[in-house]
């Protein structure tokens, strides 16, 4: 299976899907699913192919190279699988919407360009696919109109800033080494001075940090996530944002190389240490902002910013455990955040787009499968043992503690506790409590939505109970970067400083739960009563809105709100306004009076002659 064919199918499939849509919706949908599934199968077949490089094109005299290795296989698998699930989820969600052809085209295009990024063996094709991903994402984010327009603009501007930084990095490498082949660069770069390496890492980090929404550069993400079409949120939050992670891995560990990347700077001002701190800040602050959100998608968006911090901390620490934790967390986070967005999507689908947490409630009775999905999703997000999120977080915490970064560990752990607050809020406001009267007739989510949710729910448990399977692959990636191999077992990690054994935990939890269940069964069977039939200490119960949701964590809000305004975003907006007024001032140069214009001409001539006389050039 050649990679060129894969990409041709991915891109061609997108375009053919668009054209088929002009014929019939059903054919288009069938074809979109077919294409995305066939990509999954094709990539799965690539497993184990290592290091095969093929030049498929020449661009401006530069060979464009595709290659596979474990890292790219891992990411590609995640991208294609999540992409396929998102497409399946879209089938019902996007039905009867306008411009669905365009939607599918862009969705498949984003997936295809992500695959392109992942399989790129040189930086120029990496950049090309990166840009294609950026603009196709931009077109999709703005799809919903209204506030989505501003969100899309913010996204693309930050994205361009990032890619311009990356372009400088890429071209500087090209100017220095006359090649952009990653493998060759990795060899050549050994001779580079540490200053140059630092420059490279910083300039690339800007691009990847923007994409990965690392803290001072995260401001595009909440708005974009909140306004993008919900099925696309899966792709956006699951993998697209994490292309930044892939980029970090690429530049730090593939191109610059682990030993060099981890020794830049000195003392507390080591590059990777600062990066880890940025990651830690990214964990804490967005987590607390997420607690304040009342919009389901915004909440998940901020949560995604926060979770991105874990990945950065993981890979920036620069140990085999941390790296594995970071990569594994990327996968895990993708799984559960996609699941959660799909749950929100299902709710939106059934309620007509409602995503305000305060006006929902009690959906557990109406949409039980969605509820189970959400429950597993938030369990994964919090990192409850036996879900996948736990394993990756465990790896990160462990390495942070043992390597002597307790403050980073503290930031990571406190993020988890904040996470519980918003996760509970999320599930409580949507599924628990009282069902609003107008949603009495809500149906279960349709099968095409449930199927991806079920698959993802299963994946959460599967990776949580048997984390060894993905960890083996990740360990291969780690060793290819030059790290020591971890002692991976099927149930986790074995080592003398602390072992993880998920099977034990699983068995214990299972047995204990059965015991608890039996204990409950000893007593007489409970009488089922309506939800409103509660103990109110004699107070009269209003029937219409009885469920306590608004300002759920009111005391906490009062305490933290003043500190958690999005100062960074405000600063950027102010800066943008400043630029705008600067631009507005600049154009006053063109006064409209032709006498001034002729004056400019004469002055220009005088300037030329003056320069000549002054410096005698």
């Amino acid at each position: 299976m050649s990679l060129e064919l894969l990409l041709i199918i991915a891109f061609g499939g997108a375009i053919v899907t668009y054209l088929l849509g002009k014929i019939s919706c059903r054919i288009r949908e069938g074809f979109a699913v077919l294409i995305s599934l066939s990509l999954v199968v094709m990539i799965a077949c690539l497993y184990g192919e290592n290091g095969t490089e093929s030049i498929y094109f020449h661009f401006l005299g530069l060979p464009l190279i595709m290659r596979t290795n474990m890292l790219s296989w891992f990411f590609a698998m995640a991208v294609s699988a999540l992409g396929a699930l998102s497409v399946i989820f879209s089938l019902n969600y996007m039905k009867n919407r306008e411009r669905t052809d365009f939607y599918y085209l862009m969705l498949l295009m984003v997936n295809a360009s992500m695959l392109g990024i992942i399989f790129s063996g040189d930086l120029i094709s990496f950049f090309i696919f990166w840009e294609m991903m950026s603009w196709s994402t931009f077109l999709l984010i703005s799809y919903n109109r209204g506030p989505a327009v501003a969100a899309g603009l913010k996204y693309i501007i930050m994205s361009i800033i990032g890619s311009m930084a990356m372009l400088v990095g890429v071209l500087s490498l090209y100017a220095t080494y006359e090649t952009l082949n990653m493998a060759t660069l990795a060899e050549l770069i050994g001779s580079a001075s540490s200053g140059y390496l630092l420059f490279l890492l910083i300039i690339f980090s800007i691009a990847f940090a923007i994409k990965n929404a690392l803290m001072p550069l995260h401001t595009w993400l909440p708005a974009a996530y909140a306004e993008a079409p919900t099925p696309f949120n899966g792709v956006l939050s699951g993998m697209l944002t994490r292309m930044g992670m892939y980029g970090f891995l690429l530049i730090m560990y593939v191109i610059v190389g682990a030993t060099r990347a981890l020794n830049l700077g000195s003392g507390l001002f080591k590059f990777h240490y600062i990066l880890a701190w940025l990651g830690a800040i990214t964990i804490v602050i967005p987590t607390f902002i997420a607690i304040l959100q009342d919009d389901a998608k915004k909440l998940l968006a901020w949560s995604a910013v926060g979770q991105g911090g874990y990945m950065i901390v993981g890979i920036a620490v620069g140990t085999n455990l941390g790296l594995s934790g970071g990569i594994f967390h990327t996968l895990n986070h993708a799984i559960y955040i996609v699941l959660l967005f799909m749950c929100v999507g299902a709710i939106q689908y059934r309620t007509g787009g409602e995503r305000d947490l305060n006006s929902l409630g009690g959906f557990i009775k109406k949409m039980p499968f969605t509820f189970i999905g959400t429950l597993l999703g938030i369990s994964g997000l919090v990192g409850i043992p036996l879900t996948n999120g736990f394993v990756s977080k465990w790896l990160i915490y462990k390495t942070l503690i043992l390597e002597g970064y307790p403050f980073l560990a503290f930031a990571a752990l406190i993020g988890t506790w904040g996470c519980i607050l918003y996760c509970y809020k999320f599930i409580h406001h949507i599924f628990l409590g009282q069902l609003p009267g107008k949603y009495q007739n809500v149906q279960k989510a349709p099968f095409s939505m449930l199927l991806p949710m079920i698959i993802l729910s299963f994946a959460i448990l599967f990776f949580g109970i048997l984390p060894g399977i993905p960890l083996k692959i990740i360990d291969t990636i780690g060793t290819s970067f030059g790290f020591k191999s971890m002692n991976v077992t099927i149930w986790g990690i074995a080592s003398e400083t602390g072992t993880l054994n998920t099977i034990n935990i699983f068995a214990a939890v299972l047995i204990v739960s059965i015991i608890a269940w039996l204990m409950l069964k000893i007593g007489p069977k409970a009488v089922s009563v309506a939800q409103e039939d509660t103990y109110a200490a004699g107070a009269a119960i209003p029937k219409d809105k009885y469920h306590y949701t608004v300002d759920f964590y009111n005391p906490l809000y009062r305490m933290i709100t003043p500190y958690l305004k999005d100062f960074i975003d405000a600063f950027y907006m102010k800066f943008a306004h400043w630029i705008q007024s600067l631009c507005n001032g600049t154009r006053r140069v063109y006064t409209g009076y032709v006498g001034n214009y002729v004056m400019y001409i004469v002055l220009f001539l005088a300037l030329l002659i003056f320069i000549r006389l002054k410096w005698s050039l």
Binding site: V598, M599, V602
Partner: protein, 125 residues
């Protein structure tokens, strides 16, 4: 002594001085006058100055016409014919521009009822 030097200088360079004087006047008019017609006049003066300058480049004092068929004329005293050809072309072009400018001025006046360039400023920024 000084006077005669000045005179000599003037004699040698009178055309250049005249030409640049005209160019300067033309530019000045364009810069300071607001009335479109006056500006066009300024343009015209500027062009005249440039043409004069071109002629002066090729002119030799007391020169003769560059006609080779007359054997009695020495080639050293012939005026350079190329600038004159250039000037002819330039004049033609100048006329075209002038005509176009004037016709545009008429249309402008029809639209605005005014020829003050300071007030015809809808196209700006």
């Amino acid at each position: 002594m000084v006077f005669s030097q000045v005179i000599h200088f003037l004699q040698n360079h009178i055309y250049y001085i005249g030409a640049f004087g005209l160019i300067f006047i033309g530019l000045l008019i364009i810069l300071v006058k607001h009335n479109l017609i006056k500006v066009i006049i300024g343009l015209s003066i500027l062009e005249t100055g440039v043409n004069l300058f071109l002629i002066a480049v090729g002119y030799i004092s007391n020169g003769t016409a560059p006609i080779f068929s007359n054997p009695s004329v020495e080639t050293q005293r012939m005026v350079d014919p190329v600038p004159q050809a250039l000037v002819l072309t330039a004049i033609v072009i100048g006329v075209a521009v002038l005509a176009l400018a004037l016709s545009l001025a008429i249309r402008l006046y029809q639209h605005y009822g005014i020829l003050d360039l300071r007030q015809i400023r809808e196209q700006k920024w």
